[in-house]
């Protein structure tokens, strides 16, 4: 139990001290995860909506593939990106391996299927009434599609928070393609692994606390934004 108390104490101390290395690691974690989330949203939301709404040949197979990729093991994603970016790989000429860009690439591979699959589910769960009502009120296809996305936004926000949870906590892929290089590609999760291996359990717990607090704050921000846009949304009332 003592080790946890020590860890918490050290965590508070590290945050209080504003240790430059910890700050750099924290900022890099945020930068990599938020960039990956943004790119995943840009890829996953339109693709998910298209999968749900368009007549696409082999739609079920596509959906099944996306759902399978939602559970893609991070080390496998890391391995794929590693093989693509390695010196002899097809994208080797860009020399991206062991850079934050490679880490973003690997995280997009993990997060985009989640955003895509959950967006598709959220859109498919809507009743036909959404489109019919929009169309009969004179909405163009583009306007009706925008309305459908608006109606599905709780599900889309859920997709984004799930994807963020996946990337911020991810360690296998970023370790493989980032290399955990000090002042360059070391992030919070890889720091925890390193400190644990070195037997610095208190520091590992401290960094874990920072990671959890960060995740809590980002999710709080997303919920705040969600609450602002969902002023009229009702949830089930249980009495």
């Amino acid at each position: 139990m003592n080790i946890f108390v020590e860890g918490i104490k050290e965590g508070v101390y590290l945050i209080w001290q504003m240790d430059p290395e910890i700050i750099q690691v924290t900022l890099l974690s945020l930068q990599v995860s938020l960039t990956a989330l943004l790119l995943s949203a840009m890829l996953g939301i339109p693709t998910g909506a298209a999968l749900a709404l368009k007549k696409i040949p082999g739609k079920r197979i596509w959906l099944n593939t996306i759902y399978t990729l939602m559970g893609l093991p991070p080390v496998l994603a890391g391995l794929l990106v590693y093989l693509l970016l390695t010196y002899r790989g097809p994208l080797g000429q860009f020399e991206l391996l062991f850079t934050p860009s490679a880490m973003v690439f690997a995280q997009v591979l993990l997060a985009a299927p989640i955003v895509c699959g959950l967006t598709a589910r959220a859109v498919m769960a809507l009743p036909q009434d959404v489109y019919d009502t929009a169309a009969t009120l004179g909405a163009s296809r583009r306007q009706a599609s925008a309305t459908i996305m608006r109606e599905a936004r709780i599900g889309i926000v859920a997709a984004l928070t799930t994807a963020f949870g996946r990337v911020i906590a991810e360690v296998g892929a970023v370790m493989l393609v980032g290399g955990n290089i000090r002042w360059s590609t070391r992030v919070l999760t890889t720091s925890i692994v390193l400190e644990t291996r070195m037997g610095n359990f208190s520091t590992a717990i401290a960094i874990g606390l920072i990671l959890l607090s960060l995740s809590f704050l980002i999710n709080l921000l997303i919920l705040k934004l969600e609450k602002r846009t969902l002023r009229y949304d009702n949830t089930i009332q249980i009495t």
Binding site: V130, T133, T136, L137, G138, S140, E151, Y232
Partner: protein, 245 residues
């Protein structure tokens, strides 16, 4: 009087099952039509085809003087002259005002004009006090009234109503009927109404179209259909419904 809808040999199938077969149907403008018939007789399918929400498998359809080719541009241009209130009176997430303004915003109307029109429509529907309310917390009758106000805000030439007073109390239903009649009389809007309610059909309809197993088996003035039906199936339906109601 211009004919707004012409259907010629229109067939609709779901899989191998034929649900609608209309040999000929022409509906002139400015009247209240009631489509009646037992469950599964094809009433809603006919309404959705005329409302351009469902593509017919065979036959020709002419809407507001244009032969329907189901091209995107034509669909939008025709749909913008009609509107529909579905049985569920679906409300978008948002306020009553957002819902009533929806069709006006889709037409890129100026926000000042939208506010004025929304106010006018809500007053006509007796729902002014609910302007800022969450549309999804309204009662069934209130939703129907907002859905009607929303559909009428765009000043349609044709208004489709699919069971607009089902599941609501008699007082609310009477108000809605009054509103429907006013729309037809004051603005000359053609109303095409699907209803199970015999008394409502009798009160509102200029003309009744009776469907059975996807075919029109009888058509005529409300008085003619209710007092002197020619087809035994119509008679049996009317008798059964009258007993039930």
């Amino acid at each position: 009087m211009t004919t707004q809808f012409k259907l010629h040999n229109v067939v609709k199938r779901y899989g191998s099952r034929t649900v609608l077969t209309i040999d000929q149907l022409a509906l002139p403008e400015g009247r209240i039509y009631t489509i009646m018939g037992p469950n599964g007789s094809g009433k809603s399918t006919l309404l959705r085809i005329m409302g351009l929400l469902l593509v017919n498998d065979e036959g020709e359809l002419e809407v507001l003087g244009e032969k329907v080719n189901w091209e995107k541009e034509q669909l939008l241009q025709l749909r913008r002259q009609m509107s529909m209130v579905t049985q569920t009176a679906f409300m978008f997430q948002g306020s009553v005002e957002y819902n009533v303004a929806y069709g006006l915003k889709a037409r890129n109307m100026k926000s000042r004009l939208i506010r004025a029109r929304v106010g006018e429509m809500l007053e006509m529907a007796g729902m002014s006090a609910y302007r800022e309310a969450d549309a999804r917390t309204l009662s069934g009758g209130e939703r129907q009234k907002v859905a009607l106000a929303r559909a009428m805000a765009v000043k349609p030439k044709v208004l489709f109503l699919d069971e607009p007073t089902s599941n609501i109390d008699m007082a609310s239903a009477a108000e809605i009927e009054k509103y429907i009649r006013a729309i037809n009389q004051q603005q000359g809007t053609t109303i095409i109404l699907v209803t199970h309610n015999l008394f409502q059909a009798r009160r509102l309809a200029d003309e009744v179209i009776f469907l059975h197993e996807g075919h029109i088996i009888e058509r005529g003035s409300a008085q003619f259909i209710f007092d002197d039906p020619r087809d035994q199936r119509t008679l049996a339906f009317l008798h059964g419904e009258a007993v039930m109601q």
